[in-house]
Symmetry: C2
Subunit: 227 residues, 2 copies
């Protein structure tokens, strides 16, 4: 797919690099030449221009682009101007980053397809992760249900999922387990790697130091962790 | 649980608010009085002080605090100094935000328990979401397996999970479905709300406009979406 990202700060450049690594065609735009140079090997194409200038921006291949992202951060004015310019040039799908609630209201008024809040979205994920002890990572589906990675409690070690009947007894689904495996990194140094053990089946046996990935209502997950 | 967050920018203040909403005791610290005032109703306690000052910081209830987070962003120097001060005061668990790879190396050298990259972590999640068409949101477990929210393909509408046998035919687990329900917001205006339909059972029937949440190997998910 084809992307154009305006603003190569931490969020914009990370997004540009990851999309490029996944095989997409990405144009990274910034008016700071240092940024344009810093990422020219990591993003498919980088270009130096002022994205608030409608005439210059209209010179980009916008008609062929699937998704355009405005990732400019601190300069809310430049972010809003760039969003307005792109809306006017009728790009297929427009995603803008919002910095404050007022900024978000303006973006909604202009009419973007999606709004990103990079810092707030990470804060939400870490708030869950830090609160539930034994939780390695988590992904919340709409407020009351989550997918949570937890260390296998000692009392379940050596038992199979069929024996433990998570769905019947705890109303939870076990998706898989994750095992830590030692591997060597590029410098030949030992490092721990997390290996997902496929899709869980009733015969899967939980072992010491495994991480199990479970899905269910937050209150049921909390109950399990507090037992 | 008890938290202290240094730096009430977007990431720090969002984290402080969410942890407070979840019933934790949070102290939010910033040397900018405007920030301290802005969040005094939303974070349990807010305090104005310069976190690079070891004497002043040692006056905080660090011994009783479970987790300390350094969320200062742009000022890498202040972030590093604050991290060093807290490490010296032997806090129980120290998490710092890293802005650049060099900054991260310094934090690892000082010895923090966890490092957060707010913008990069959100970029990773959006890169997946933007690449797979039909994907509403996704959560990746270690590189090859993901949990993905997808629109129910037309050909599955009206069929039960038992009929579709996702695990046997596609090696995928269906966790649940999400339905859009209309509700009224605080201003009495209609808004769409996503409602998770509990934990899926073999009898669950997929309906038009549902979102189904599936788990499996990325290649198997891609195969399903491309059919
Ligand atoms: N008018 C403009 N045209 C093109 N690029 C711009 C313009 N204004 C700002 N930028 C670029 O946007 C990028 C991101 O913005 P900035 O660094 O201010 O935000 P940030 O909040 O620090 O970003 P992040 O949190 O992602 O690191 C910068 O590299 C900056 O050069
Ligand atoms: N020495 C210090 N003591 C206390 N607070 C500090 C200190 N230095 C900076 N801060 C605060 O840290 C907060 C976050 O830092 P800053 O706003 O520079 O980063 P940011 O990258 O914009 O953050 P975010 O991306 O989370 O919005 C600011 O509110 C600032 O006042």
């Amino acid at each position: 797919m084809k992307f154009i990202i305006f603003g190569l700060g931490n969020f914009g450049s990370s997004l540009g690099q990851k999309l490029t690594e996944q095989g997409n065609e990405v144009i990274g735009v910034d008016n700071d030449m240092n940024k344009v140079d810093a990422f020219k090997e990591k993003i498919s194409h980088t270009v130096c221009l002022d994205s608030t200038d409608e005439i210059i921006v209209s010179g980009l291949p916008l008609k062929d682009t699937d998704i355009v992202i405005v990732a400019i951060g601190e300069d809310q004015g430049a972010n809003i101007m760039t969003t307005a310019v792109l809306k006017n040039l009728e790009v297929k799908r427009l995603i803008s980053r919002a910095i404050t609630p007022l900024h978000e209201t303006v973006l909604q008024a202009i009419g973007v397809d999606d709004i990103v809040h990079p810092e707030e979205e990470t804060a939400e994920r870490w708030a869950k992760r830090l609160c539930l002890r034994g939780v390695v990572d988590s992904f919340e589906l709409s407020g009351q249900y989550s997918i949570v990675e937890v260390n296998v409690p000692q009392k379940y070690v050596g038992k199979s999922l069929q024996e433990l009947s998570f769905r019947r007894k705890h109303n939870l689904l076990v998706l898989t387990t994750i095992k830590k495996e030692e591997s060597k990194n590029l410098l030949g140094l030992k490092q721990d790697e997390n290996k997902v053990q496929g899709v869980a089946s009733p015969k899967t046996v939980l072992e010491e130091n495994d991480i199990m990935v479970i899905y269910g209502a937050n209150k049921d997950i909390k109950k399990l962790l507090n037992e």
